[in-house]
Symmetry: C2
Subunit: 369 residues, 2 copies
């Protein structure tokens, strides 16, 4: 391990393309972290199987994995700085998962509210065994590259705490193998275009990073705003109004900008002015939305250029995933070996194998003599 930067592990379930909600909640932070950390970004298909084990979802994994990697490159993730890998193709993760499962109790996992929430969200009335093991598999993911830092949303901080506990228990019971990873709580939630609390593909209220200009315009023009405002001269509410929340995130003049610094215009008054006029009933929804659509399209313009560049290199994304997965496998082999060595598990098979092979050789020699 020649790279001495601390390591980050994070990832995405391959259930679809990334949207602005992902960007706000997670991926903009990855951009900021890629220079200071050695980054492992996993395509978490085994996690997807815990709630979507159906054939159609599995069939979509490959394309979704590619789309996710391309989305990363499009927003400016540097392919030379990040290891993208396909979780299911790293055999050692399955082994780590099973071995770590003895270091945490069922009761402890059941204290996490997230598991039941995930089951409910997936329309399951009972929790599959593998879904209960979600945080155990997450621990395997984090500990596999011996991650130091895990950027997570508030709701997943408890999972990292469990990983810390598992790592500490392992180190105590066997040997100091794992660094104790820190959670880095990163923030931001984007409401859906329909005003729903969270942007989500399945709610059909998302603007995707891959949307073209026409699609962005259409989605923004259909956005939910203040429902009381049936005419442009009725005073409206700005607070909690999705259109203004988006403006604050994506307009160069926004109050809460999530766009790259080079695209920001601190001190600019366009958004403030729109808010004023909206409150007074002095602006139409169309003007507000057109301003927003323009802002999002401006923000996405460099993203689209990078996307077009990487898309033109046929096979490049697959190459990245392939090479990254091989890289992750090498890391995983090293970690699993250290784990098994600490536990005393490697010796068992090695000794039996060597002694067994010796016997077979002696037999062969006797037959020849």
């Amino acid at each position: 391990m020649s790279d001495t930067k601390p390591r980050i592990l994070t990832g995405d379930r391959p259930t679809g393309q990334l949207h602005l909600g992902h960007f706000i909640g997670s991926h903009r932070h990855r951009l900021a972290l890629q220079d200071k950390y050695e980054c492992f970004f996993l395509v978490a298909d085994l996690h997807m199987l815990t709630t979507k084990p159906d054939k159609a979802s599995i069939e979509a994994i490959a394309d979704n994995a590619r789309a996710i990697v391309l989305d990363h490159l499009a927003i400016g993730i540097d392919p030379d700085k990040v290891t993208f890998y396909l979780q299911s193709a790293v055999h050692e993760v399955y082994e780590m998962n099973l071995l770590l499962g003895s270091l945490v109790t069922v009761e402890r996992i059941q204290q996490l509210p997230t598991i039941k929430d995930m089951a409910n969200a997936a329309g399951m009335d009972q929790v599959p065994y593998s879904l209960l093991g979600y945080p155990v598999l997450q621990s395997a993911d984090i500990l596999m590259p011996r991650g130091n830092l895990v950027p997570v949303g508030q709701d997943n901080e408890a999972h990292v705490e469990m990983t810390r506990q598992i790592a500490r228990r392992f180190n105590l019971a066997y040997d100091e193998v794992f660094p104790i990873p820190d959670a880095m709580v990163v923030g931001g939630t984007l409401v859906g275009t329909d005003g729903n609390a969270k942007m989500s593909k399945s709610l059909n209220n998302a603007v995707f990073l891959a949307d073209d200009e026409t699609t962005v315009n259409r989605r923004v023009m259909g956005m939910y705003t203040d429902p009381k405002r049936i005419r442009a001269d009725i005073p409206g509410t700005v607070e909690g109004n999705p259109v203004f929340e988006y403006l604050d995130f994506f307009h160069p003049d926004g109050a809460n900008p999530a766009i790259p610094e080079s695209q920001r215009n601190p001190g600019g008054t366009v958004v403030e002015d729109l808010k004023d006029r909206y409150r007074k009933g002095a602006v139409g929804d169309v003007e507000v939305k057109q301003t927003l659509a323009q802002a999002i399209n401006d923000f996405l313009e460099p993203t689209r250029e990078r996307r077009a560049h990487f898309e033109s290199r046929t096979g490049f994304v697959d190459h990245l995933l392939e090479a990254g997965t091989q890289r992750a496998r090498a890391e995983a082999r090293e970690t699993l070996m250290a784990m098994k060595k600490a536990m005393g598990l490697t010796g068992i098979w090695n000794r039996i194998r060597r002694s067994g092979e010796k016997f077979a050789k002696r037999q062969a020699a006797t037959r020849e003599a």
Copy 2:
């Protein structure tokens, strides 16, 4: 798979040598089954880790694994008929375990009384995640060689029923990959030498298959009998008396013989006569115990001869375990491949890898040109 015999999967946790209780409950039945079935006997070290993940227990696995295989050979298991393998050395089992875990709910597993019992027996007040998964891992064990029949004690029949359910669910959701295994409930429990309900190493009330004559004599002479009988002329109770239970199992004249047919003496009256005299207060404990010790030693004599024979072939047991594990791995690879193919999981990585490698080749060609 050229062998067309139906397949059996069963095994032992490598926690120590086998004793007469194991023989009565399980291993005598294996002897009877080895001719009609293709047998896979696993050394279940991963199962052991669910309740004994401490370093000392792990360190003892190799020797216990060897002792267990040798015990099998000693009682007459034919090394050419059975595949012995070390569970932890078959990587595919970890993968199967994770994938099968989405086909059974936590609630369903928690209905099994066995899990809590195992936790209690191991002195745990909470159930580790991996212990809750015991029946899932068992399913992976059984389905790995596509087992048809699983000899189990009554208390584990529900585990096989769960495997059947998991196999049916898999076949229905993806493709017909697994035969639905049948449980074959095999009977017999042997009380401990102390009169405790079950013979067990940890209760220190066991007679081991590897015990020599002197040790057998000592253990039998120390056995618990009817505590009311403080003198030989006091009438005693035969029913539930460990000494007579053992006589029925191990004496050639016994009423419930568990010894090989060649060693039995149907119609013989020695045990019946001892029971009569015991009930009347007309026989001393010493005579009864000496008869029993002789019977057990007679039963163990051919076992000792076979043990000495196989022990003299240094490395043979390791060779068996090594070759068996390689054999099991080949089976496991085939099964996991069929599973992943049915689920659509193989295609994902293969397609990405091939396309990624093609890209890298084109790049290299461009550089050369």
